[in-house]
Amino acid sequence: MTAMKKKPPEADVRSVLMAGVGGQGILRASDILCLVIMEAGLDVKKSEVHGMAQRGGCVTSHVRFGAKVYSPIERKGNVDILLAFEKLEALRYLDYLKPESRIIVNELELYPPAVNLGTMGYPAHALELIRGAFGTVKVVRAHELAVRAGNPRAENTVLLGVLSQWLDFPVSLWEKVLDRAFPPKTRQANIEAFHLGRNG
């Protein structure tokens, strides 16, 4: 784990913000991250949005962890890592980050209604814009890796694999949790997807 600048009052609490679109498996991914953190013996809280947002709208999940966590949501300007499942959703939540925050972006464009209708444009050069504002931006072709792992739906597990490189939890812990999280039918592909993300 990289050294965090000491900045009370929540010096030892770290936060990951996952953002994407309904149906991308964000809540599942944040559950898995929480279980890994729990297995590592840390306190963890997460927060998510249900209901209206499931109908193709934005979905976010905050995960915060450390010795003692109070709030399940992070304030704007203080998220450590943004894990974006889609490029537009990465742009949408940049205001939750601080200058030294790191970003993982899935190389994927899902058009919202206004873009489909042709009334608004999908931001061009989204990745360049993000790179211009933040130093550490990792772009992942999660779909390709998920297909290679044998399950095109395992994009979320690929992204967890990428995220795992930036968190200080042993691979065995991740494997233990992934093993429990998926039914036998999709287990192997998801573990493979995780490793492709982690080693990619």
Partner: protein, 599 residues
């Protein structure tokens, strides 16, 4: 053992651990999962009621028989249940009755942002408010104990952020359910005619006094003394936000938000210099504490609206050094929720949106049809409102409204509170056309069973309400069933029924595309044949997520295929999202939409 649980799962677990085995409720975000989870525990009986009033009455009946009874609903559900609520406060509960109200600050999935702490004071019922999952589990147990001890219904108030955040919970072994149920006849306690209600009214005040005394020693109300310059009085989730931002201040954390521990508050106030009250929505604590003559600051600095987060508190009370990021200047298109690909509502609302009619709407996924491009719904007030509103509007408009007023309501919502207004429409000779958008499930909250699905909450087969038969006995002469995947039929039936000058009901029936039990694949994914598409954008008017506009602008000359001179682009269908419902094929005038060929 520690497990990761949502607030809702923890509430269900707490009820189970303390021996509650009876539950009733009506689904509503953010409360739905409480009863779903509770229903899974061994030995539990739990049911979906048609609405919150019925759920509460079922819960009251069980409590009067001696059971420990759990009733769950969202904040606006308490409005529906308010009638029995105010009087069960008088009768008391015999067994135990805990009512969960799940409030929704920020209106994540609701039509208003009411603060249901006011109900506690209004109905003179104590209210507990947990701040995370562990507290949610423990507070439910305390709520059951309090209910039995003080012979009162007890509220437990959650908010979206408590219900739908997850944190670590220590599971305990469940208590054995001791069966204390029996028939008990006690008219002076349970027959609330004026003479007896007046006597019970006195008991309510005595009980409140006893609860005030209890509040003073209740361990869920606690002082955490640190730096005495600033003291913060708070409860529920906002406690966590404040602790995050101002960890060194002193706190009075209230677990019981009604009634308040006045002595404890005075004691706390005497030990700190400046007091902030940190609470979302109404100044519920602040006004009561000010009425005690204690000087506090709250809503003059903190917002009345929306949920808080640590940033809101930091901004108002403890500005942090800013470390701004220079964000890229870019317009980010919004991504509102939308009807799913293949949603059966789309066909109905496409037709309604093109008619020159007022569509009184209701609560459900179909409410989203108000948006562009469908624009097929023009009001949404509360569960069931569409039917009565359409009738009232049509009566007020008289001849001007002839054939121009429609009320639309989902199947679960119709059962919730659409039946009596439909009876009213028939009784008073209304001519508004009512449409039940019957997708065979409670889709918005995640596929819950209801009285017309043929299954109970706990998965048992049961009778299924027949809407046609019901409408006929209510006095609706014309009942038509349509398939909203058939635009031509939908349009012609709507026109015929609007032309009628007698009560009329249309049942637009087609399973929710996400409801695995009922949904049958209808066709193969479709695609746009670019050699036929003329770029007229008709298909885009459906607002279907897989259909997108591809402008020719910026494309290399060789890739542009024009079928008319002035064509500026063409439509494109993402076959991986398309369900093959064929609506777009039906609106395409040039036959450019075709099935994807098998490879």
């Amino acid at each position: 053992m520690k497990v990761l649980m949502s607030g809702n799962e923890a509430i269900a677990r707490g009820a189970y651990e303390c021996g509650a085995r009876f539950g009733a409720g009506y689904p509503g975000t953010p409360s739905t999962e409480i009863l779903e989870e509770f229903a899974k525990y061994p030995g539990v009986y739990a049911e979906w009621a048609p609405n919150e009033k019925v759920a509460l009455e079922v819960g009251i009946g069980a409590a009067l028989a001696g059971a420990k009874s759990l009733v769950t609903m969202k904040h606006v559900g308490v409005n529906v249940a308010a009638d029995p609520l105010f009087t069960v406060s008088y009768t008391g509960t015999n067994g135990a009755l805990v009512i969960i109200t799940a409030d929704d600050p920020s209106l994540h999935s609701s039509q208003n942002e009411q603060d249901n702490r006011n109900y506690a004071r209004f109905a003179k019922i104590p209210m507990l408010e947990p701040g995370d999952s562990e507290e949610a589990k423990e507070f439910v147990k305390i709520a059951f104990t309090m209910s039995a001890k003080f012979d009162t219904p007890v509220f437990l108030r959650s908010t979206t952020r408590v219900s739908h955040s997850k944190s670590l919970v220590r599971e305990a072994d469940p208590a054995e359910d001791e069966d204390r149920t029996e028939l008990r006849i006690n008219p002076s306690k349970y027959v609330m005619v004026p003479a007896m209600a007046r006597l019970r009214r006195l008991e309510v005040e005595k009980r409140l006094q006893a609860l005030r005394d209890f509040a003073e020693t209740f361990p869920g109300n606690r002082m955490e003394m640190k730096n005495r310059e600033i003291g913060i009085i708070t409860a529920g989730m906002p406690y966590n936000y404040a602790k995050e931002v101002m960890p060194d201040c002193s706190y009075l954390k209230l677990g019981l938000v009604y009634p308040l521990p006045e002595k404890m508050i005075r004691k706390f106030a005497a030990q700190v210099k400046k007091i902030y009250v940190v609470e979302e929505l109404d100044p519920f604590l602040e006004e009561q504490i000010k009425a005690m003559g204690i000087e506090v600051t709250g809503k003059s600095l903190l917002p009345y609206t929306n949920e808080f987060d640590p940033g809101v508190i930091a901004g108002a009370l403890a500005p942090l050094p800013a470390t701004p990021v220079k964000l890229p200047e870019v317009t980010i298109p919004p991504r509102p929720p939308n009807l799913c690909p293949g949603c059966p509502h789309r066909g109905l609302f496409y037709v309604l949106g093109k008619m020159k009619v007022f569509v009184a709407g209701d609560i459900g996924c179909y409410t989203l049809s108000f948006m562009k491009p469908l624009e097929g719904l023009h009001s949404c007030i509360c569960m069931g409102a569409s039917v009565g509103m359409a009738h009232g509007m049509s009566k007020a408009l008289g001849d001007k409204g002839k054939g121009r007023v429609v009320g639309v309501i989902g199947d679960s919502t119709f059962i919730h509170s659409g039946i009596t207004p439909l009876l009213n429409l028939a009784y008073n000779n209304g001519t508004a056309v009512i449409v039940i958008c019957d997708n065979r499930t409670t889709a918005m909250t995640g596929m819950q069973e209801h009285p017309a699905t043929g299954f109970t909450l706990q998965g048992k087969e049961t009778k299924a309400l027949d809407f046609q038969a019901l409408a006929q006995v209510l006095g609706i002469d014309s009942v038509r069933v349509i398939d909203p995947y058939d635009l031509k039929e939908t349009r012609s039936v709507m026109r015929e029924e609007l032309a009628r000058s007698a009560p009329s009901l249309v049942i637009s029936r087609r399973s929710c595309v996400l409801f695995k039990r009922n949904y049958r694949e209808t066709g193969k994914p479709l695609r746009v044949n670019v050699h036929k598409c003329i770029g007229c954008k008709n298909c885009l008017d459906l607002g279907c997520p897989p259909i997108a506009w591809r402008s020719f602008q910026g494309l290399p000359e060789g890739e542009i295929i024009k079928n008319t001179k002035k064509q500026e682009g063409n439509s494109y269908i993402d076959a991986s999202l398309c369900t093959g419902c064929t609506l777009c094929r039906q609106v395409c005038k040039v036959g450019a939409i075709e099935e994807v060929e098998e490879k």
